[in-house]
Point group: C2
Chain length 395, copies 2
């Protein structure tokens, strides 16, 4: 059996390119930017007044002048006007162009205005103060956002400012999520004694939505010819197939055989981990196949531990590993890498992980009380309070 690292390396070395598409900028949040965003002009585009007040020529102040006749108003959004007489001032508003021949802004708080005369009430003012200089944040042509970044609200503001009403982002893969298992009935149905409702496909749909991938779902009964014919067409239509169940040793776990018959190249089957051990991963020339084990936690953690990194690598996103500190000793003897559910909390900038005791890989409800999985290695069996290990968050 291969290790989690070996499995992950195989998965992320089997990435696909989905291409690039252009979307309206407001629809691009959460998507991966695929073009450098360049300042279309200086940023700010003019010497921008950054406080409401008056503007003057600083030389006059230096020569002890304190009272200035108000010559006009420069509003935001108006064409630049000119300070005609250097002994005068102009009222200026935040966001306005600094008037010609003026070089210093004094905010209203430091001025009293009476009968058209503004008197400066402070002794210390600096030449050029309260002016956001043209080009200070970036010159025309400067790269403001580099490609391969996830677009968030911060980037949306920049896109709007430079006029990128449409923006190039990575296309998302076309994904089909398939459940198998004759014990499964629909969410709206009342299960018989020996049945349960489908749930893994919906957790997968939600985990994919979290990274802006919309997906389709299907359920196929445990019938080999039906499985084979449906999967054959899915392999043509989709970039990715995610399966939940039917990959282990059961009599009706037809998937590995079906994949082989359909020419899917098996890259591995089984990883030395718990939960999620009987994980199948394969591909064709056009499709990647993730066969997750059917237990709820197994499907959940393998989607996070393998599908997410595969997707991020495919769209060119670099990710960083995050770690957290155990708040309790953990003993785990099976000689497998262990993905343990933990509740995260923060104190003094330290991220703590408290193990949540579930009842094994079938215990879906235990996920509700946790925030992440902590990934414990298999080279020891006792993990001490205070030690830190990688985590995978899911909220």
């Amino acid at each position: 059996m291969i290790s989690v690292k070996e499995a992950k390396d195989i998965v992320i070395n089997s990435v696909q390119e989905f291409g690039v598409e252009e979307v309206p900028f407001l629809k691009s949040v959460g998507r991966i930017l695929k073009e450098d965003i360049v300042a279309d002009r200086d940023f700010p585009p003019f010497n921008r007044v950054s406080m409401d007040g008056i503007c003057i020529n600083f030389n006059q102040f230096k020569e002890e002048q304190r009272a200035f006749k108000i010559e006009g108003i420069q509003a935001a959004g108006s064409e630049q006007i000119t300070l005609q007489n250097p002994n005068n001032c102009i009222e200026v508003m935040t966001g306005a162009v600094l008037p010609k021949n003026a070089n210093t802004v004094i905010r209203y708080e430091d001025v009293s205005i009476k009968e058209g005369i503004a008197t400066i009430n402070v002794d210390e003012i600096k030449e050029q103060q309260n002016i956001h200089k043209k080009g200070k944040d970036g010159k025309a042509g400067a790269v403001l956002i580099q490609k391969n970044k996830i677009i968030s609200a911060a980037e949306i503001g920049v896109l709007a400012t430079v006029g990128k009403s449409k923006v190039k982002v990575a296309k998302q893969p076309k994904v089909m999520i398939v459940s198998t298992g004759d014990e499964l009935v629909g969410v709206e149905e009342i299960p018989l004694e020996h049945q349960i409702r489908r749930s893994n496909v919906f957790t997968l749909v939600s985990l994919l939505e979290r990274i802006q991938i919309s997906s389709e779902t299907a359920h196929i009964t445990d019938d080999k010819p039906i499985l084979k014919s449906k999967i054959e067409s899915y392999l043509q239509e989709y970039d990715v197939l995610l399966f939940s169940g039917a990959v282990s040793k059961g009599k009706f776990d037809y998937l590995p055989a079906v994949f082989e018959e359909l020419g899917v190249e098996k890259l591995f089957h089984k990883v030395a981990q718990r939960p999620g051990k009987p994980f199948f991963y394969g591909k064709t020339s056009v499709c990647n196949i993730f066969g997750f084990p059917g237990n709820p936690i197994s499907t959940f953690v393998n989607c996070l531990a393998y599908f997410y990194p595969w997707y991020y690598k495919s769209v060119g996103l670099e990710t960083k590993e995050e770690t957290a500190i155990l708040t309790k000793d953990v003993v785990f003897k099976p000689g497998l890498e262990y993905f343990l559910q933990v509740k995260l909390s923060d104190k003094y900038g330290h991220l703590s992980a408290t193990p949540i005791t579930g009842n094994g890989s079938g215990d879906l409800a235990s996920l509700v009380h946790a925030d992440a999985f902590i990934h414990l290695p298999n080279d020891k069996t006792v993990f001490k309070t205070g030690e830190n290990y990688p985590i995978i968050r899911y909220r």
Copy 2:
């Protein structure tokens, strides 16, 4: 001027109730659950086989029997069958009901099967092993998810399992986002020398989408009668109005006067913070009004620091403060609380915050390089490397 804490207390004591609505469970991700989710039956609903293999009556194993004739197969999704002869075994599949009269499951890996006889190859097996006992994760009627929780993929799985195809969630507020400022033109337009494109409304739209609130936007010119008439109708139609700009001391900053004329109760105007000082907050009996200062970073940070907590409190969500550790000394003298952009990174479970030097509150591009704001108090001017302070993440 009031402090950030005073301002925040005023805001969160002015929460609104938006009521509850029922939505399809798959559309509920990111929403706030407004009902306890209860197990409709035991969880698991039967003694569930958790490994593919054979099941036996443990007494026979204890009495040294190792070879068992295979009497039948119990598939997942089939009605429970019965082990007729205690000397025999039944093949069982993961997810199946444990057959009657059997009480122990041995996985295929530990068994060899030849001519209809399964021989157990291990010496240690435990009574009841590989069985996920009926009701172990929760008894019928147990609360599996408590209300007032954000719904994530983990909760979706539980909702599906208990048959909650529709679920009660907090209604979202009806929000209008208004920009003012005659210097602003549309994203698709080419601005004249003295103009810039609208961006704050779009960052606000994105920040609200991040918490699943869809909003409408409008732009009103700096004309007092027009402002007044439009705002008058918005005050009737929306739960919340967010403004960007026109709340400071400028000649055309009509909003505070317009609000007063329209009967908006001013709860505060100005907070001792940078950026975002001239923040106006008020309300009517049916509407909350957030008047954010027009500088991009001011609008951005105030939405995170005030609107978010107000929303969370309104829908009944408890939030936790997060802190991070400064990686560089920071000096800040103005005697105001300081929201400083920081880049977060994680090492050994410690969250570090590296200040990003921007060019003041107009420098939208600097947000791209940061992940969060760190909130520095105003009771000192030097903040040392290694000290930790609250942060507000925005990615």
